[in-house]
Symmetry: C2
Subunit: 320 residues, 2 copies
Amino acid sequence: MSKDLNIVALTGGVGGAKLALGLTKVLSPENLSLVVNTGDDFQHLGLHISPDIDTLLYTLSGLENPKTGWGRNGETWSFMSALKELGGETWFQLGDKDLATNVYRTAALQAGMSLSDITQQLARRRGINNQIIPMSDDPVRTRITTDDGILDFQEYFVKHQCKPAVREISFDGIETALPTSRFQQLLESDTIDAFILCPSNPYLSMEPILALPNVRDLLAASKACVIGISPVVAGDSLKGPTSKIMQELGLACSSRQIAAHYQDIVDGWIIDDTDTSLTSEIEELGIAVENTNVIMRSLQDRINLATATLEMVTALRRDF
Amino acid sequence: MSKDLNIVALTGGVGGAKLALGLTKVLSPENLSLVVNTGDDFQHLGLHISPDIDTLLYTLSGLENPKTGWGRNGETWSFMSALKELGGETWFQLGDKDLATNVYRTAALQAGMSLSDITQQLARRRGINNQIIPMSDDPVRTRITTDDGILDFQEYFVKHQCKPAVREISFDGIETALPTSRFQQLLESDTIDAFILCPSNPYLSMEPILALPNVRDLLAASKACVIGISPVVAGDSLKGPTSKIMQELGLACSSRQIAAHYQDIVDGWIIDDTDTSLTSEIEELGIAVENTNVIMRSLQDRINLATATLEMVTALRRDF
């Protein structure tokens, strides 16, 4: 494995951030850029909240809350309790420390800074030297059509705890949103060795990134290889509602199904050791397959999966 | 003293809020309305902060911090420490609980509610049944011309801790700001027995209220009596920079000087027992004078001063 590989990882929140952390341990910062989903962003209590960006920033700076998968460690909750006293909206939990990030970002946006510049500034101030790139500076908002009506993503995900059955997922603003200029540069660069699709929810977290105008075409056309890591193991999602949503959308919940969803763009697909029986049917889609342990419980698991991913990049580059 | 007096108290922050608390203990809520200075309001970190309104609300609901004179009791500071990590502006202290009030207000303003309606809602949710009325729903911003340049009020008051010498005090927006409709109704009402000028800083806290279009004229013309309580005792201000500012503005720091400042509107002036030597020269201004203890250390002091104020109202009403 070469440490000189130039890698761009596309990621959502929790699952993706775990692999991203692993990648930061085996690549120098200048060789790893991270493009983050902003379809989960929303306005709440007058604040601009970017859940996936913050999960990534907290994870990479060691401030994440491993118990919840969101928010900060060592968090306090005085703000929420005082807001409750006032009868304010408390369904979305904002810790006192997490609030600082959100107030800071909102004030900077109001002052005219772009989400890209703010995110990069937040990353630097957290001691993160990778490029952390929002997928777009324009608003894209994931909406979930459910049996209970159309819900904003956070309403669906947090307020209703993913309970309503999903019929359709759409992304408001996606037609006119542009990839951030840095993301666009990476997509058009000829010095990138691989784009990695992190094991985030394919429909909720990865799809907004891929649905931005031209992104899918540019990935398909890129001379860089594209490798995805399966977020589904043994027919179930490791975390979050992936398997439930796939069922509701009438899709078989399997690693092969997700590989097929990415068929036009991925060159390689990494599955869990328990799913090796799927290898040949995924290869039939024209996708190279590797298997390893994709369940990231420990830091070493994250590093191992990152290492396996880069080994696949090296192997596929040789074949190109 | 009659509990049926209809009273409107005009107030700034700390000193005024102390008397306001005393008044709430001796008047039923429907007989006491409080009009609050908003000249200290400002935008900070994207939030609309109303220091005097909040000091009053916290004081009347027993949530005030008696040590600082601002903010809440039992406060925590996780937000500020996290903001500091990010290199955010930390000169203005916002506690985690206090932040809930400010976020709530800012979000409600953004949603189109008036400051009046929000303030009344905050009061109700804090169990305060008096009318709490911002002086204006329009922005009025106190600016201090100092030897170090023109400063926003909070820059002068908090960031520079009142150190720069004051040359002039002005109120941006005062020409076009309107008193809130409820304040205007009270000014024009013929059922008010008295307007009380609380012992807040006359130049910083009371002046913005009185400088709103027509307010001074309506108070002078009102058939209600107008009674002020001296914020200066024995030639010194009880709290805050009043005496320093008076000196810098070339004014003698005395209770008589402040009475003269209000000469066109006040019928009665309450001075401290230690200042009785000033009685005759204040009476020469055509103002009735009473003396009592105006230094409010305990709750009983607040109640006593409120009681003395209402007794003066009753006495002056008899003379009318």
